[in-house]
Symmetry: C2
Subunit: 378 residues, 2 copies
């Protein structure tokens, strides 16, 4: 376990959960379910039995560093890596692996000239979003253990693919090939292709075929393997970090990153590496996953009363009302009469009332509020 590392990406500023999410309090920091734990806290806790806490890194914007250290008090400040600019997931991961190399070197007393291929640099890394929901923690742990065992033995990139339960058009899909490797009691499939979010018709074909899995954005690989992939597919990113590798973990790391990171290309790990590599595998998984992308997806996951109303965090009394999603600050009461299929979401000083089917317009609401009220409610 001491060779296991975890990189949690927590730099998102998603506006789809406005007004619950705000510029200074994005989705990953929210306690959606009123459990007293934010999505980020739940994510970190999920990895505790799998990765030593000192091997957990959180990559984020400097704006959120204090909030993260407050939410995860046993994290040291140097475990929060700050991106000076938003450059999507590939530069984020490149930075994290450079930093992990530095950590391993310092712990093992290896010099800065050590090769990425040196066995003593061995590190298994899981990369995870910070703002997803996972319901079945035991199954999740089992899956991650199998994944670590796989990348320990195989120089391959592994991704977790979720067994689809519906023709979801909001997710990317991964197509399986026939080529499999058996690990413990799981078959791990070589990936045939990654696909973009499909339309409804195509999503139904995907679901029916049994050949497609949802792309969860959770990746597992060995330090050496992902570094080779970067060198092969994104050499322009490697060029940015290579000269600074020896500075990782020193007082000069921050200044180096401040200087070089913003000039990285804006590119996702999926597009930059996974879709191009012939060495990507997927472990079909089923641990009650959701990316919690919208209020609607939160509604789908929430417990509902007999009229299909989901009430999160607050009390609510419904009269002639069906299939609503209501969330107010804790301890508040909603009395709702004659309303069907709405989101009613209040946080701090903003109340949103919007039909569930039209929530893609939330971004427009957020932009309008930004302009009309000079950011006061953003």
């Amino acid at each position: 376990m001491k060779n296991n590392y975890c990189v949690i990406m927590a730099g998102g500023i998603g506006s789809r959960f406005w007004p619950a999410s705000r510029n200074n309090r994005p989705k990953q920091f929210l306690d959606f379910f009123g459990t007293g734990h934010s999505l980020l806290q739940m994510t970190v806790d999920r990895f505790r039995p799998l990765v030593p806490i000192e091997n957990v890194l959180i990559v984020t914007n400097v704006l959120y560093k204090d909030l993260i250290l407050e939410q995860i008090p046993d994290l040291k400040p140097e475990q929060v890596l700050c991106e000076p600019a938003r450059r999507n997931t590939a530069p984020c991961i490149a930075y994290a692996i450079a930093h992990i190399k530095g950590m391993v070197r310092q712990r093992t007393g290896l010099g800065e000239e050590v090769s990425w291929d040196d066995d003593r640099l061995n590190a298994n890394i899981v990369v995870s979003p910070s703002d997803h929901l996972i319901l079945h923690e035991n199954q999740f742990r089992k899956t991650i253990r199998t994944s670590f065992a796989f990348v320990e033995k195989h120089d391959s990139l592994l991704t977790l693919g979720m067994k689809p339960s519906r023709p979801e058009t909001g997710y990317g899909y991964i197509q399986l090939s026939n080529q499999t490797i058996n690990m413990v009691d799981s078959d791990i499939y070589k990936v045939r292709a990654f696909t973009e979010k499909p339309n409804r018709e195509l999503a139904e074909v995907f679901l029916k075929s049994g050949e497609f899995l949802w792309n969860s954005g959770i990746f597992i690989w060995n330090l050496r393997t992902i570094r080779h992939a970067f060198a092969e597919f994104l050499p322009e990113v490697v060029d940015k970090f290579m000269p600074g590798e020896k500075l990782m973990g020193t007082a000069e790391e921050e200044a180096y990153i401040q200087d070089k990171f913003p000039s990285c290309p804006n590119i996702s790990i999926d597009y930059g590496i996974l879709e191009k590599s012939k060495n990507v595998y997927v472990l079909p998984s089923d641990f009650g996953w959701s990316d919690l992308g919208t209020w609607g997806s939160l509604y789908e996951l929430s417990e509902k009363d007999e009229q299909g109303n989901a009430t999160l965090k607050c009390h609510a009394t419904y009269y002639d009302s069906h299939n609503n999603m209501v969330t107010l600050p804790e301890g508040h009461l909603a009395v709702v009469k004659g309303l069907d299929d709405y989101i009613v979401a209040e946080a701090d000083d903003v109340l949103l009332i919007c039909p569930k089917g039209e929530e893609q317009q939330i971004r427009e609401f957020v932009t309008d509020a930004e302009i009309d009220y000079k950011g006061r409610y953003n």
Copy 2:
């Protein structure tokens, strides 16, 4: 002006404006329009140019005494009369006139044996609800001055009748006779009949006839005149107060009222006296009056945007939404999409969403909340 007195009835516990109104904060104490003044404060201020502040009495429940003294800091505690039980308007007014007799006696040095008919007891009294809205203050003042001049000269009971602007079914009506008395530039009509709240059809007949006015619940009379009317029509109420008249304004007043008031019959001044007396006049008035009986009536009075949405106290942005009435705590923002003809009202920790046409059910909501949440939100 020093003979002018004002009795403001502020004992109501109306639940029709829940959740804005609560048990400990009924409608009259609310600042509905975000002006920084409660309806009670506006009522008191309206009378300041007409009645010396030391001649203003507020009759209420002891629960609200402190709140009243807080809202009207230049009122002395002895100007707030506390009813030990709710007994409708007739006992409330009987108590107030007994107290006013005591005030006048003390100020003029008259003995307790002085007759109600003694000219030195002369006092003109306006009786007013505390929770109505009046838009045109100048017109109101003119009307009250005319009324005082009328009751100074005529031993009659005077009521203000509002010129109806729509076939309202929520108000009682007053039918005019042909008999008039001219005062300054107003004709004051003898009342032919008081009527209960009519159905829609009848309300339309009333409106069309031009013979009917809305009953505002604002009355003006001389101390002596109303006391005679009580003696004639409600002797059982007079019996309760007469033995204690000499105690009014002394340390024993409160104990006496505590003892006797609860045994008064529960009866309104309209039913107990005005409908029975042949000596009732009405001054047709038009000063932008509303009893603010429901959220709907507040909507009617409020400024609306081009889509018919009325926003009270808060900010609101509407998308595909029409004819809604939205009020949140000051400084909050509502974003409303795809909603027509609703009340959205939030106060403290309760949010109500209800079609405007179904707001008579608010009483049911209040009762349900009382039971379900043990009064926590009432």
